[in-house]
């Protein structure tokens, strides 16, 4: 007894786009306060390292000057931080405080659309933050164009990767402050132990397997390969790791978050 057989629901790609569009509009509404810091942060880093710390480090790292070594690493850490914040604190606030999802889920969107759209948005933010770092690095001649123009794509993958893991963590969180553990226990160590600040090859052997497990390691290796335009078999492994990580963690993140949104 269908009363109206001509209901046209928006197609899948559109539903994902509309969620992405929502986040983009809210983010770009304060373009100055949201858009400027991503450019300022690498600038400060470069000043600190280039004028200060870097002058003490004369040894080259993996064949790169320290400034270039750290700079290329920042391309992905910037993406990591922004995506992690967006999909932990951001997601939690939308879920529990602002009740944004309650309204969105009353429109023709499924929970899966909503979460996947948000993950794609976090990837986009990763891309943008990566791009901002790239601009600064290029302006100061730290890295070389045009190959490194592809680096923001790695930023996108990094963003998606940290979006899914952050969402999975958020799905367990009952009180927002618990997220602090995620940042001090997971994200911050990632910054130091995945080859961004110093090469991991010199770490003791028994730590090496651990380094391979850490997600950011693969992003860092990939982005350096992109910037140098020098690819090896190991980078296929990195891509494979990233793809599997996104699919597996993403699957559980969606499943667990759905239970928080539809009960």
């Amino acid at each position: 007894m269908k009363l109206n057989n001509t209901v046209v629901c928006p197609p899948l790609y559109w539903r994902l786009f509309s969620v992405w569009y929502r986040h983009m509009r809210v983010y770009t509404k304060n373009i100055f306060s949201n858009g400027l810091p991503p450019f300022l942060e690498p600038l400060l880093f470069l000043a600190g390292v280039g004028l200060g710390l870097g002058t003490y480090i004369t040894q080259s790292m993996e064949g790169l000057s320290y400034l270039e070594f750290l700079g290329t690493g920042l391309l992905v850490t910037a993406a990591m931080f922004t995506a992690s914040f967006e999909c932990s604190f951001g997601t939690f606030i939308r879920l529990e405080f602002d009740k944004v999802y309650d309204g969105m889920l009353a429109s023709p969107l499924t929970v899966n659309n909503l979460i996947v759209g948000e993950i794609i948005w976090a990837g986009t933010k990763g891309l943008f933050f990566s791009f901002a770092v790239l601009c600064i690095l290029a302006v100061f001649g730290v890295i070389h164009l045009p190959y490194s123009l592809l680096a923001p794509l790695v930023g996108f993958l990094t963003g998606v990767m940290f979006a899914v893991i952050s969402m999975l963590i958020t799905s367990f969180v009952r009180v927002i402050n618990q997220l602090n553990f995620f940042f001090t226990g997971f994200i911050s160590p990632m910054f130091f132990f995945s080859g961004v600040v110093f090469p991991t090859s010199n770490l003791p052997n028994y730590i090496q397997p651990l380094v391979e497990i850490v997600p950011l390691t693969h992003c860092v290796r990939l982005v350096r390969a992109v910037c140098a335009n020098h690819y090896q078999m190991i980078h296929l492994w990195d891509l494979f790791y990233i793809a599997v990580f996104i699919l597996v963690v993403g699957f559980f993140a969606v499943r667990r978050l759905r239970k928080r949104m539809v009960n």
């Binding site: 007894m1 269908k2 009363l3 109206n4 209901v7 046209v8 629901c9 928006p10 559109w14 539903r15 786009f17 509309s18 969620v19 569009y21 929502r22 509009r25 809210v26 509404k29 304060n30 602002d98 009740k99 944004v100 309650d102 309204g103 969105m104 889920l105 009353a106 429109s107 023709p108 969107l109 499924t110 949104m261 539809v262 009960n263």
Partner: protein, 310 residues
Amino acid sequence: MTEKIIIVKNVSKTFPKVVAVNNLSFEVEAQTCFGCLGPNGAGKSTMMKIIYGKCTRDEKPASQMSIFGYDPKDCELEIKSLSGVVPQDNNLDDELNLIQNLMIYSKFYNIPARLARERIAYLLDFLELSEKANSRITELSGGMKRRLVIARALLNNPRLLILDEPTTGLDPQVRHLIWDKLRLLKKEGTTILLTTHYMEEAFQICDTVMIMHKGQRIIEGPPRDLLANNIEKYVLEILDAGALQDKLKENMQEQVRIDKSQQVTRLFSNDFEYLKTIAGSMESSNYYLRQTNLEDVFLKATGRGLSETQ
């Protein structure tokens, strides 16, 4: 025969600690306004959410649901495309202005931008928000925010409008405005499903009212019938019934129903003159003689005491 927009049969919803909806059945006809009344925790909101797929109903016992012929279990997108929802909380994007808020939702419904702008202008005018079109959400009063959420729910020209406590916490002017708009929408062919605590609201705009308690339907019917069939016509409310104690014990029970709460004694009767005689012996500040209303039915049906979920 009028078409049934909503058919709900034997639906239950159990949360880990509480049975929110307990074997509930009801039907809503096209172009009518159906009101769900009940104390907090009665399961009204949960029932609304089950209808648009925000909650899933229990698998067992077997139940049946049809909204425009669709089952929310499998066809949430179709149902949501045909409906508009006003959730209990105003979840607007504070960073954006009114038009931008609505534009974002028009994208969810895949309304082309040009059409969306026309529709938004119309709806802002319809809900008397045009002057504020470019204001930030934080500059709006509670009543304006509520009206904007209603405008948002109307973006896709819904055939079914679901409102969860649309006027809670609003001043009388805004409430009356919203009632007027809802009446107009109904006249234009929209079916309305709402939950409310306000008996007055239910009486004003609902064609059918269902009183819920602990997840179950207590009574259902047109508001006037509920009044006529379930409660005496008049009530005499007495603040200090001390002087009446003797009388209360005697033969009065045959003519009046007595309902005592902590501070107030209420005498219900169909005999106005009789109540007036009783009142006549008291000071005028001590009593209030009036017609009964839906609130009396509500309290009779759901009890005066608070349950633990309230």
